[in-house]
Each structure stands twice: as C-alpha cells, then as structure tokens.
Symmetry: D2
Subunit: 371 residues, 4 copies
Amino acid sequence: MSSSFGRTLRVTVFGQSHSPAIGCVVEGLPSGFAPDLGRLQRFMERRAPGQGPWATTRKEPDVPEFVSGLNPRGETCGAPLCALIRNTNTRSQDYAALVRVPRPSHADWPAEARWHGSQDVAGGGHFSGRLTAPLCVAGGIALQMLEDRGVSVAAHLAQVGAAVDEPFAALGSPAEQTATLASQIDALAGRSFPAISPEAAAAMQAVIEDARKGQDSVGGRVECVATGMPVGVGSPMFDGVENLLARALFGIPAVKALEFGRGSQVAGLCGSQHNDPWVPGPDGAPVPAKNDAGGLVGGLTTGAPILFSVAVKPTASIGLPQESVDLATGEAVELRVKGRHDPCIAPRAVPVVEAVTALVLLDALLTYAPQ
Amino acid sequence: MSSSFGRTLRVTVFGQSHSPAIGCVVEGLPSGFAPDLGRLQRFMERRAPGQGPWATTRKEPDVPEFVSGLNPRGETCGAPLCALIRNTNTRSQDYAALVRVPRPSHADWPAEARWHGSQDVAGGGHFSGRLTAPLCVAGGIALQMLEDRGVSVAAHLAQVGAAVDEPFAALGSPAEQTATLASQIDALAGRSFPAISPEAAAAMQAVIEDARKGQDSVGGRVECVATGMPVGVGSPMFDGVENLLARALFGIPAVKALEFGRGSQVAGLCGSQHNDPWVPGPDGAPVPAKNDAGGLVGGLTTGAPILFSVAVKPTASIGLPQESVDLATGEAVELRVKGRHDPCIAPRAVPVVEAVTALVLLDALLTYAPQ
Amino acid sequence: MSSSFGRTLRVTVFGQSHSPAIGCVVEGLPSGFAPDLGRLQRFMERRAPGQGPWATTRKEPDVPEFVSGLNPRGETCGAPLCALIRNTNTRSQDYAALVRVPRPSHADWPAEARWHGSQDVAGGGHFSGRLTAPLCVAGGIALQMLEDRGVSVAAHLAQVGAAVDEPFAALGSPAEQTATLASQIDALAGRSFPAISPEAAAAMQAVIEDARKGQDSVGGRVECVATGMPVGVGSPMFDGVENLLARALFGIPAVKALEFGRGSQVAGLCGSQHNDPWVPGPDGAPVPAKNDAGGLVGGLTTGAPILFSVAVKPTASIGLPQESVDLATGEAVELRVKGRHDPCIAPRAVPVVEAVTALVLLDALLTYAPQ
Amino acid sequence: MSSSFGRTLRVTVFGQSHSPAIGCVVEGLPSGFAPDLGRLQRFMERRAPGQGPWATTRKEPDVPEFVSGLNPRGETCGAPLCALIRNTNTRSQDYAALVRVPRPSHADWPAEARWHGSQDVAGGGHFSGRLTAPLCVAGGIALQMLEDRGVSVAAHLAQVGAAVDEPFAALGSPAEQTATLASQIDALAGRSFPAISPEAAAAMQAVIEDARKGQDSVGGRVECVATGMPVGVGSPMFDGVENLLARALFGIPAVKALEFGRGSQVAGLCGSQHNDPWVPGPDGAPVPAKNDAGGLVGGLTTGAPILFSVAVKPTASIGLPQESVDLATGEAVELRVKGRHDPCIAPRAVPVVEAVTALVLLDALLTYAPQ
C-alpha cells in the first residue's frame, strides 16, 4: 500500500521513470462530475519540464489518457478512475553506469540493498519525480471538485537559496487576511514563475541560473494555502488534517521538512504570542483573530485558511564531481552525473504540492466533515 | 481509523482525558517477547507529570494493566495486546465553563462544530495530551524489541524559547558520528531534564520558570535519533520512513513542524553542500560520509542514523487573560484558563517522540525490510 | 489488522479466553447516540452460556464496562468506544495438557506451528468463542443505531442436525414477504430458544440433548434477515455487502459456509427460475417480485430484505475419545477433552450473527450509501 | 477501497465493460520474479469467451500490456505492477435501453439508486464479469509464484444444473488424498472443459446446451483445492484464510455461496463425524487423518489441502421475456435482454476462482506465515 493514500478518496500511483507508462488509479471520487480536461491540461503544464531556462530541457507531453472511471458523457461514474501517461523521450543509456556506482542523495544504494538488483534503476525507477505527473492528474481533478465546494488551493515558491518571496497572509483581521490572500492568489495566477512578488521571482531565477552555470543545484521552499474549508473537518490523533497532509506531502520526492502555521518558529514563542484569540465572526461564531496555527488545531480545521510550507532539497543530480563507491570493487570512485536535470526542482514542485493538498482536503471533506 | 497507525504493527489508542480509562490495543507484535515491565514503568515515568518545577503538579500513577496479549509467562502471544490506564485525580468541574467559551489554540470550537455538543469536552477529551501515556506503553515495548534488533532510539530537548542544546552529531566521518552519538545518548540516560548539555538544561529550565511565573507558556523543539537501522528499510512514495514517521508524529498533540536531516535549511543549500557522498564502509559497502539527509533518501534508510526534529507549540492553556467568544451569545468575552498546566510541554514530549518513533521503526522493519 | 473489520465503523476485538479481560474498540460510531444499556445487557444474555440444558454450565456475567467513547451523558462522543469484559470463572488447569496433545478440529496444532509455544493455549486463547462477547457489545449498540435508521436485523436457528425450522419468507409479493417476516421476527422475540416454529424448537432441543448424552456434539445453521435497508447500498467488487458480511461472518468461530438468498441451490437453477423480476413498488420504483437474490445483486442492496445463512460446525470439544498426537514424542495417543462445553454452539451463535450483521450493515450505510 | 483486496500483496482492479481499457495494479509482489508470459497467456485463455458452444461468441483478445512493475529484464522490481487490457469489440448500442428498463438479477436498478444516472451502464460497467480478466492477469502471476513455493491451486466445475463432477479427494489417509488429488489435477490439466470426469463433462455440456437452446441460462458450482500450503498460515478472527478468501471470492460476479470443507453439510453432522483426527505424519508432526475441515481451522491452515467451493448463479442475461419496470413511467413492462451471453458462466469462472485463490494465498503466505 506504499503507493496509495487516502481514506474515502484513495489514490494509487504506478509506473517507473522509464517503464512504458506511468499513471494513477483514483477510487472514491464523487460521481457525476465532468472534469474540465482543458483546465486539467493547463494545470499539468505547470509541472511539465522544459518551461524555462531554470528547468530541464527534456520535453514530455504528459497528456493523460483516461482508460476508466468516466461514463460516455465524460463524468465520474462511481468506478475507479485510471489515467495513463506514456513515457517517451527516455534515455536509458544515461543510467546504465549507475547500477554500479550509486549517486549521492539518490536512493540507488538503499534500493540495491532492498531489492538486490531487481529494482528498476533507470531514471530513478519508482522513486522518480516523474511520478508526480499522475499525482497532478488526480490532484487537478480534485482541485476542480474542491472549487465546486468553495475551497481554493494555491501554492507559491516561498524561497530559493537566499531569495524569499512575500509570505501568504496570516496576520491582521480575518477580513484583511482574506482580502490579502485573494490578491496574492490572483497575482500568482498570472505568473509563469510561481512567486507572488516580481522582484522575488527575478532574484530566485538568478539564484537558479547561478546554480545551473555552476553545474550545481539549489533547494527551495513551497508555501501553500487552502481557503474556504469549513470549521471542524478532520479527526483527532492520527487522521488530523496535519497527519493526512504530512503522510502525503512527504511522498513528493525531495521534501525534507513540513511546517504548519508558524512551524518551527513555535519553539521560540510564548503561548500569549502564539495562541490565536477567538473573535466573533459575522454570524457570532468564533473565528481566529490571526492565524499562527495555520488553520489547524488538534487535527481539525479552525475555519481560518490552512497554511503550511515544505522544504525541497537541492536536486540530487549535479554535474560537479562527487564521491561514491564502485559496488563491484568496494572502492571509492569519482562520479559525474550526466543527463539533463533541473538545477532547482522547487518551481515544478509548486503545482504538485497543490495537487497533493487538494487530494488530501477533498478526502478529509468526504471522510471527516461535521455530521 | 483515526486513532490507529501502522501496517504490520498496528496501534490503536482509546480514551478521553476524563473517561474511566485510557489505553491502547497493539496488533502484530512479534510473539515470544517478554517485556521488562520495570523498565517500561521507568520509561513511562519520564512522560508522567509532576516531576519538577517546570511541569504540572497533577499526579497520575499511569501504571498500565495488561488485560490481553501476554501469555501466562508474560510473553507476547500473537493476540492483540491491550493495556489500560485508569484515569484518577480528574477535576471535571474545571472544564464545565469551556463548553460555552472555547479556549484559544485548543480544539474546543472545532470539536463543537464537528460534533454539536456530543464531544467530551472535559480535559480535552480525545484530544488530550493524556493519550500519549498509552502511546508510551506501546512504544516502550517497541523500544525494548528494537534493542534486541540492534536499534536504539533517543531524543532530547533541542530548544526551549531561545535556549538551545547541542545537536545530535551529523558531521564528521561515520565512525566519528557514531562515537559522538553514543556519548550524547549516554549523557541523556543520566539526565532528569532531557538535554545533553547541562548548561543548556539550566538555561531551558530558566526559560520555563519565567513562563510559569508570568502565567504564560513557551514552545520547544525535540530532536530524535535512531541508530542501528539497516540500509534499505522503507518503501517509495507514501510509505517511506519519512511518511510513516510524519503521519504518526503529528499525532502527538502540539507538534507543528517536522524536519528530517537539515530540514528547512535545505531551501538555502546547494546540492554540492547538501548531498552526502558515499564512501566505502568497513565491508566495502557504501556509507554516507556525512548525514545531511537524516539517514533517509527516497523513503529508504541509508544506513546512517535517522535524524529529525519536531517543533512543539507553547502549551495552549495559559493563565493570562485571552479573548474568546461566548457561544451562547455570540459576543466577545475575556477568558482565563484555570487548572494546572505545564508551562512547557516539550520536556514531557521527549519520551513520547521516542515511543512513536520506536513503533514506526519496528513496523517498518516488520513490513518493509530487505528481502 | 486481523482482529479488526470495518471501513467507517471499525471494530477491533482483543483478549484471550483466560486473559484478565476481553473487549473491543469501536471507532467511527455516529456521535450523540445514547445506547440503552439495559437492552444491551438483555441482548448480551442471549449469547451468554448457562441458559439451558443444551448449553455449557459455565456462568459468565459478561457485563461490559465502557472505559471510553461515551460522554458524561452516556452518549457516543466521537472518540473510540472501548468496552471491557472481565474474565472470571476460568479453569486454566483444564487446558494444561493440551499444549502437548492438540485437540482435533481446534487450532491448537496450527497455532503451535505458527507461534512455537508462545501462543496462549488456555481456553483457546484468541481463537476462543468467548471473543464473540465483545462482538455482541459492539453489535448490540449497532443494532440500536440501525433501528433508529429503520433497519431491523433478526436471526434464528434454521437447522440442528436433521431438525429444521421454517425459513424466513422469500416468496410471494413484496407485501406478503414483509408481513410474513414481521410475524416471524415477532415470534422470535418471545422465544428463549431461537426458532420460529415451537415444534422445530422442540425437535432441535431433542437433537442437542441426544448429543450431550452421547458426549458428542452437533452442528447447526443460522439464518439471518435484515429489513429496511434502502436500495443501492454497497459497492461493486470487493466491498459489496456480500464481501463485507463474508469477511466478518467467517470471523465467528465454527462458521464453515455462507449462503446468500438461494445460496448453493443456485447451481441447480435456471436463470428463468432464479432471476427476481422487477415490479413497480408503491411509488413506481422497481422492487423485486421475489427474493431469490437475498436482497443483494452485484454487491448492492436491491431494497428487498437481506437474507443469508451460515453453517456452524459441531462443537469441536467432545467427551468421546479421539485420536491425536503427542507433540513431545510424535506418537499417536488417545485424547479425551475434559471441561464443560456446549453440545451445540449454534443457538448461542444466533445473537452473534445478528451482532456482526448489524456492525457490517451500519458500516455499509455510513460508507457506501446513495449520495 | 472497494476495488482492492490484500494486505501485503494488494490488488486493485479498474475499468468498465466498455471503457477504453480495464486492468489491475498489484502492489507488494515479491521482487526478482520473471513471469512466464506465455503460460500467463494460456491461463488467460481459459477464461476468455468464445471457446465453445457453451460460451458467448464474443471474441476478446485479452492480451495484457504491462505498463509498469517489471524491470528491463522482465522481472518484478518492487514497484507496483500495472497491466492493461484494451476493450475492443464492444457494442454499446445493445445497452442503451437498459438505462430505462433495469434487467432482473443485474445491478442496473441498485446502481441507478446509488449514482442517479452517472453510473456507466454499458455492459454492466464496473459490475461486469469482464473485470475478472485483470484478476486473471494478477492471479496468473501469483499462481506461478506459488508454484515456486511448492503450492498448487486447481479448480474444476463441480456441478452444472443436476450434473455433478467427482469431488476433490478429502477422505482416506493423507497419502491417499495426496495421490488422488494429484491424479485429479493432472486430469484437469488436459481438459478443455474443466471437469475431472469425462462423463460429467458431457452431462454438464448437455445441460448448458439445453439452456442455450431455451434462451435460458443455468447455474453451477466451482470447487477449488490448494495443496502444499504449510501449516500455521493465517490469523485468528477476521484475517483467517477463510475470511480473506471469502471477501475476495464474493468479488467474482455471480458467486452466491461459499463452503469450506464439508460446508453446509456440517449443520447435520456430529462432532465425532466432523472432527478430523490428528495422526503422526512422516516426521511425527500431526497431520489430519481426513479433511472435513477443508484444510482450515480457526482461520489457520492445518497442513491438509485447502478445499472449498463456490456456487455461481445462472447468467442473469437470458433471452426469455422477463418482467421489469420502465423507470421513466414507473409502469411494468416486458423485457427481452439482447446481446451475446454465456448460457452458463460457471466454466469461465473456474480459472477466475484459481486466480483469486492464488492471490489470497500468496498474500497470506507473505503476511501471516509462521515466524
């Protein structure tokens, strides 16, 4: 069950980087919904490689074929949806040597230790970031379904190296937060590079370009917000919205940290600073006066926007020489990773974070909503 | 299934803060193991309240009764183990008013929105930190079983407010890391306050005492290490060791962030800095020359120690006046939370993090080990 | 997860025949429901031993203690419900020899092969029929919740040896079936021995008494009906109502066969005989004109009563001499099973079948109902 | 999760009768195994339609494409295996009217009640027997893997209408049973029609031909045996081998009853008849002297062959006129089901039962084997 997540809405991802195809099976989608396939394709393209100087030059069409789950009118029909993306433009020969010399920061050696040579090493096999494409198919549909339920999910590139974007709004009155978030999300919709501030975008691109020129790579941070979730969604202990998001988000390759609300800063705060006071909302029901909690307390939604960020490690494949071991001889060797790689994977992770978040939140709404 | 986690080894936690009892059911424990109940009790006591000036003065004996799962010789017998802890020393009257005025940073209002008055509000009900006691029963047994498999788990208080402890070793040659970690873990074994450095311990206790005197609270950070895990344990995508730890660790109340290895710092690093080179180990098999990855790549163990930290928010219950809303009238009111509360919950979270980690790692070994 | 079943409503059973206690944890119960504990106790008593000459003379009080899951008003509160039944009146010495000489038709030897001596052999350990008591606690609450939803579940003893009861109605117009079933269910409510026909009851009791006198045992068949289930509940393939019932019902010790509707007779029927025609119901919607399908087609409810039966093998423990093997010597030995045992377990299985059915149907309604 | 089953080895089936493709995803297959694709194809052909006068004349090639899960050498590689079968030769127009007039004994009306028109009605959608083709892909591989572990699975047509085949051996000494079973399984290997006795085969074919000529259909019974399973596999209560088989086997369309060992006959037996005595095997370990239990006690294997049968209802689609209801008007109408249908589906169910059994037993071996 390692390639699956979800309770009512269950996503299973299959495929290897260089297998004939990759894809997903999605069980439990609400029936009678006709996904807008044009919008879905545009969403997929935000993840696709080859979009700018900061990304790999590989070109993959990534057009999903829906082989099941839709009725003749194109609506979800209660049966599991299966979408398939063919793998093309593969270069298996780039990877042949890696069977013998594992790459630093890749799973080559742990996979060899686990599967003793039967693992599919080409392109990272089932570990490949390529598997985020079917996640985006499933998540792109979930995003559309959430929109019908009044929930929006948006992410941006919050940091690359030392360059930082402005954060999503978490301070000010609930009305002010809502207004600021709306304008931030609007701004992102028009950007080819997923930062809110044009200046930050330029600075980040410069950092990435430097890494590319140096045959190096650089890490980043993706921040995500979900607005419109009703209060009281989730379940205490191990199926809180944090838990569900956490399990799924760490499935995105390269994610090394996850922080909700103020995140790791809470270690330095007092309760009187961190606690979000309740104030009466328009109908008298409590709403948080600020959002240090990131919209989640005890695993349940507070009614405030859900706010979190993930840290994405630098692309492991770099052109610079690195130390490794020849598995055949047990001796130290120098390794240079060839092939075409993103100097920073974080920009392409932005829609993937949105996709995974949408899948988790739709599942939480279907499973753990107020009765 | 919100109160359960695990694949082969499955833990279910039940109880409310003020129900007759709390406890756990553990399915899938390897059979034929006789837990050392004296050691288990000493482990439980590290979590128990009332241990020092920095903790609540409530006293709870927390002696588990094993009502099933052991044979007459006291060994695990293949049947689910159920351990029960009676709730005593409860003061329900402290919480009566909270039904009407939700506490900031607690789940009172989200729970009311979800369950419309049927939730058990006393002491936080099923959201209570009290439920970490049965987690420590299950985890304490898992710790002993791991030890038999050569795996050690240890955690310390890495930060409270601005006071920081020395971190677990992640630099230097593998042999140097191992030696330093061993001495750090040894040092912790003798401490009543779970910090490696005595100076850091004193500074942290001072921060906590200040919070207590100010009727306020303060957050913290717990760092955890697991040594001895073989290489290749885990599974790609959603059952990587990161995913499994993440889902479980966010079940510890007050955890708001989780970072593996360099964690959120990776956003600012280059690949040439972050990548851990492989060097030949004693038998020629690759070992990481340093441990920025925290012992995990692609969801699988690398053979290096597993290293991560969680940020724990300040105790939500503080004596200072706070803003809230009277649910009966929909009007703003001032709230003062009474009762006895830890000014910093992070010290008591240390053994809980160890317990949860042990349960997850034992499950991973039983489910996803090299064939 | 072997001791658990259910999707939204999840039941976990723990305990061994002679452990300090047995019990269950039930997650996912709808909140705000106050079980009638008096009715629950009367339901429990239908399963309890010691009720008549046909049953074992052991006396077990079987009064559940609810240690979690209810709020102070006695209502389900959203947290997992845990109920505990203490084991008393155990006679471990009766079983000491069985470690060495496995009983025919018991799991003694398979358990030894699996757990190599660590299994708890006393009273059958975790295999014991005693574990149906907590199933009746959970199921007794589910029965009450179903009643609130217009669903009734009733079972009777359809056969013991060659003696047979009249079957639940499956022929005639829907209105006639409903009327007959109602009168059959009414009749059962007044019976201490669970047969519809008093003559059949007398014949069955005679068969059981003969078995008892002969130090032998006899098998039986339990038929169950559920009325009031709406049409369209269930899910195709592996979570059809048949699948869910099947997995759970084979968890009742001694069940060896399960038949829905006409059951194994369908092998001899033509489609023109077996197919249930659709006729317009009062509102014009289709209803089956007869009920050979047992209320289930393709895993989904048809709107007709759900009808099935389970065959219960003769009690494995008999006083007559039997052949076995001495595990210490590997030689054939004669075995006489001592202790107090039901000469026919089927009468006591009747409420257990009702309990398990109620748990499965409530879960199906919560998980797979029409949207 | 309705389209999935399995613990360690998890099978998910997707597709509708007339969707672009059907297929399966199989997680948890042991790695390093190269399936013999020629043998797999021959196994698939045993299920394929169009093989004889007793079957539908539709022709479906049913050649699976493996889009993931194999490495370049054709071995399982640790990643989920996905196999795809394209749907061709569909005739959607045959089914257009069925949206309005539900067929007796089909799920048309329950599906309409559940999904309100969004279900895919063509060819039965996700309810179609066509989905047993991907089950045979997955199960055909499992059969090969089991063979490597010394386990054989074979099924035959035990009954069609009043015609019955000789049963698999369950009496006589263990050695005699083994010899008889071996010759029975050998005999089946050479049969195009899956009966042991040629006379029974002829009688069954005559019954089927009569049904075909009469535009009617007929039911059947499939008996299955698995030899070579070690003793002690399985788990008590809800993951006994019976439970696991039961949940999966009722996923085969048209299965209405499942009986282990003596099955429903146990209701009429005494313990002294039904209990299988233990006798010393060649190494002194106990083996059952006969096999009334069907190789399973308390959910665990006894070491004897696993024996069970399933009853398969008559094909629901018959040419004879039947009563139904026009959903648009709510009035009774006469229905004649057109299209090409098997007059008896049971012969084609034989390899499907083998496939499902193999998947369940391989999963049980991987999950619940002696330690």
